[in-house]
C-alpha cells in the first residue's frame, strides 16, 4: 500500500507540488539524513565535506539533486548544526558541533589555495580580537599546513599588494617573525607582545 502526500506544497501561491509516494518521500528523507550524518562523521574527524563527495558511494546523489538535497538538509531542525559554505568552485559542508566557522574558513581557504586570504584573515583577526601579532610559524601548523618556503613565497608577494598594506612585520629579540595588522595594533604594541610570547613568558612561568 502506498499513500500520496505533499511534502513541498505551496498551495497559497498556487504552486502545487507533484504528489509523490511515501516510499519516495522516505527515500528523500533517508538521503537527507544520510548526508547529514555523513557530514557529522567527517566533521568529527576534523574534515569538511565538499559537494563532489556527495556524488560518490555510498551517497551517490545525482548532480542535479545536490543543491535541492542540501537545501532540504538545511531546513531540517534535527540537522541545524550542518553549515553550508559556497566556496569559489565548490560547496562545503560541515557540522558546527565539531568544527568552528573560523576553523572551517581556514580549511576552505587552504583547500582553495587562497593563501593571501588565509594569511590576511588570520592576522587581522588575531590583531583585532586578542590583540596579538601572529607568528609566521603558525602557518606551518594544521590546518594551514604550509611549508616554510611556500609561506615566504606567498608572503613576499602579499607584501607588494596594496590591499594588504595593513599587514606589517615585527621581530622579537630572538629574531622570531610576527605579523600584525596596523588597523588594530600599533607597532610598539605588536613588538612587545611578540617579545612576551617568544622570550618573556618563559622567564615568568
Amino acid at each position: 500500500m502506498s499513500y500520496e502526500f505533499n511534502i513541498t506544497g505551496d498551495s497559497e501561491n498556487g504552486n502545487e507540488a507533484e504528489p509523490i509516494s511515501l516510499d519516495e518521500a522516505e527515500e528523500v528523507k533517508d538521503i537527507v539524513a544520510l548526508i547529514g550524518n555523513f557530514v557529522r562523521d567527517k566533521s568529527s574527524e576534523g574534515q569538511l565535506v565538499n559537494g563532489e563527495e556527495l556524488l560518490e558511494e555510498p551517497l551517490s546523489v545525482e548532480v542535479e539533486d545536490i543543491i535541492p538535497t542540501i537545501e532540504e538538509l538545511r531546513l531540517r531542525e534535527d540537522f541545524s548544526d550542518i553549515i553550508m559554505y559556497k566556496g569559489k568552485e565548490k560547496i562545503y559542508l560541515y557540522s558546527e558541533k565539531f568544527i568552528t566557522p573560523n576553523y572551517a574558513n581556514i580549511m576552505i581557504t587552504a583547500e582553495e589555495k587562497d593563501f593571501f586570504k588565509m594569511i590576511v584573515d588570520t592576522v587581522r583577526q588575531e590583531s583585532r580580537i586578542y590583540p596579538r601579532p601572529t607568528s609566521v610559524n603558525l602557518f606551518r601548523k594544521a590546518p594551514f599546513n604550509m611549508s616554510k618556503d611556500e609561506f615566504f613565497k606567498v608572503y613576499n608577494q602579499l607584501k607588494r599588494k596594496e590591499e594588504y598594506e595593513d599587514i606589517k612585520e615585527v621581530k622579537a629579540s630572538n629574531d622570531a617573525i610576527y605579523l600584525y595588522s596596523d588597523e588594530f595594533m600599533k607597532k610598539a604594541h605588536a613588538r612587545s607582545i611578540a617579545e612576551w610570547i617568544e622570550v618573556e613568558s618563559e622567564q615568568n612561568p
Binding site: 568544527i99 596579538r132 603558525l138 594544521a142 590546518p143 600599533k186
Partner: protein, 700 residues
Amino acid sequence: MAKVTGWIGNLLRVNLTTGNITVEDSMKYKDLVGGAGLGYKVIFDEVPQGTKAFDEANKVVIAVGPLTGTAAPCSGRTNITSLAPTNPYHAITDSHMGGNFGPWMKFAGYDAIIIEGAAKSPVWVRIEDDKVSIEDAGSLWGKGTVDTTKAINDIMGKEACIAAIGQAGEKQRNLASIVNSVNHSAGGHGGILGAKNLKAIGIIGKRAVHLADENAKEWLKLNEYMMSDIIGANNQHVVPNTPQPWAEYHNPGSRWTAQLGLFWGAANPPVETGECPPGDKNKVGLRTQKAIFDLGPVAEERTIKMAGCYSCPIRCQSNMYMPELEKYGLTPYATSTCINYSSPGTAMVKGYADGESKGMDAMITKCLGSRLADDYGIWSNYGQLPRDFRHMYNSGKLKEVLPKEEYDSINFDLLEKGDPGWMLEYYNNLIGDGEFSHLLDGPYWMAQRWSMGDEYWNEYSNNIWSKMAYPKHHSNEAGAQVGVLVNIMFNRDANSHTHMNFIGAGLPIGLLKEIAGEVWGSPDALDAPKDYTPMNEYKAKFAKWSIDRNFLHDSITLCNWVWPMVVSPSKSRNYRGDTALESKFFSLATGIETSEEELDYMAERICTLHRAATIKQMATIDMRNEHDTIPEWVFNVDPDMEPFTEGTVKLDRDDMQLALTMLYKEYGWDEKTGAPTRATYEKLGLKDVADELEGLNLLP
C-alpha cells in the same frame, strides 16, 4: 557534638625539645578554614615577636584544609607556614608542596602538624595513624632526600609518604626546601627543619575523610559538572595552544598542549594525547602535555607519562626517561615541572653546547638540575637563585667575592662550553661550605654580605622585587597595577596565580573584559596586555579578589595553579566559569552551608591575619613605606616610553600610590599606612589580634 566532616578535628603537636607529642582540637581554627589560615594564627599566637627563623622558638605548621583528602579536583597541595629566613625581618611566609603529604596527613587523622622546639640530635617523626614517635635520624643525616625517603619507606612501607630535607636544609641554608615523595618541594622552610634537627616526617594512615551526611550524590554531581564543563588545563588555560577544529580560539601561550599526533612517546605503547575538547572528563588528564611546554619538542619522545598530585586531574608533572643522566651517576629518570625545570636552565648563563634553547642539551641540563635540586633540597626562590648567579658571574663580581683558590677550583669551563655537566659543579658548590654557597642566603642577605649595589637591585632583568628581597611573580606584566598589588602583599614571591590564570586563559580581550565586568564590577578591571590604563577601583577589587582567593586556596586547600574557575572552556557557557565552586565543595564537605561571599569573607579574614602577623614581626604599622614598596624598574623600564602607552608595562609612581590607597580601602585598612584598623580586625572576628597589636602599639 555534631560529627566533624571535611576537617578531621585533630591537630598534632610535636615538641622536639621535650619529646612531648599531643593531640589537640583543630576546630578552634575553623573560622580560618585551615592550611595557611590555621598556620598564621598559630605563628601569631605562639611565636614571640622578633623571633628569627632558625631560633628554637620558631614553629613550623604543616596544615591542610577541609577539602584535602576529599577527592575535590586539584586538592593535593600541602601548606607549610613559618618565619622565613630569606626575609629581612624573618616575616611569616607559606611554602607549598604538591604530591601526597597533605591527604596522607588527613588519612592519619590530622588537619595540621605543629613542629616546635629543637631536638638535640637528628631525628625523624614517624606517624602511623595515632601512633606517633620521634625516631633517631643519625644514619640519615647527610643524605639527600632520595636516600632518606627510600630508607624511611623501607621502614614504614612503600605506601608511606615521606617529607624530608636534604643537605641544604641540614646546613640551614635560607634557600632550602622540604620535599615529599622525592620531587614535590615546598620552598623556604627546609633550613628551619635543619635547625630543629628534624630530617623527615613519614606518614601513613587508614582513616577516611568524611563528607557531610547525605551529600555524596551531590558531591559526585558537582564533581562531574566541574570535570565536564568547567575545568581547563594547567593554570586553567581554557583554549588549546594550536588551532583545532572544535576550538573557536587558540593561544600560543596556553598549557593546553594536547593535539592530534602528540604523544607520551616513552610510554609503552606510546599514548597519543589527541584533541581533548570540553565535555569528556576522561580526557582532562591528557590536556596538559607539560613536558613539551617546559622542555621543548625533544621531550615528546622521552615522556613516559604526565603525573601530578593526589586527586588532581591536571597532570602537570612530567615523568621523563633520560638515560643520559646515568653518565652523571643518576638513575635514568626525571620528574618535575615548571620552575624546577626552568631554573637549572637559567644557570646556564652561556647557553648550551648545541646552540638550542630547547634542544637535547637543554633537556639533559634541566632534568639533571631538577634531580640535584630536589635531592639536595635546594629552593630556587622562583628562579631567583640562578639569576643571582648569572648577575654575579657576568658582572665579574663572583670572581671578586670568592677566594681565589675557591674560584679557581670551580670548573667554569663547563659553563662556558654549555655542557650539562655544569649542573653537578653548580649544585655541588651551592651545597658546599665555600663562599659560593652564600648564593643560597637569598637576595637580601647575599647583597649585604657581598655589598651589592643599585645595579643589582634595580636591573629589570634581575627580577628582584624591592628590598623585601624576593623576585617578582606575575607582577606589572600581569594586569598592570593588579599584578603589582598582588606582589606587594606577601613576604616571599607572590605565589598567587589567580589573576595570571585569568589573564592568560587564552580568550580574546573582549570576552575577558566582559567576564571581568561580571566578577569585579566593570570591564575596566582588566587592561589588554601591555596596553595599560590608569588605576581605577575595579582593578583594586580584582587585585583584592585575586589575593583573597590565593589565601583561600592555601587554606581550604586547593591548587592555586589551577583554581579559581573564573572561565571555562565551554562555548555553550560562553566561556563563563563558576566562581562559587569552592564554596559549593566546602559546603558539601563540612555540612556548613556557606555562600561564595561568606567564603570570600573568611579569605579576607585570613589575609588580614597575615597582614597582622607581618606587622607584628616588622614592628611597624607603616606598611606603605616599609613593606609595600615597589621596585624602581616598574617605573624605569622602557626609558623611551611613557606609562599608559601601548607596548610597555611601565607604570606611574603617583598612580601606584593611588593603587595602594584603593587596595587599602577595599580591605578597610588605614589608607595612610596600609595597616588594618581595630574596627576592621573586630569586624572580621579578630579582636584578640587587635588587642595584642594594641599592646605592642601596632594599631593605626
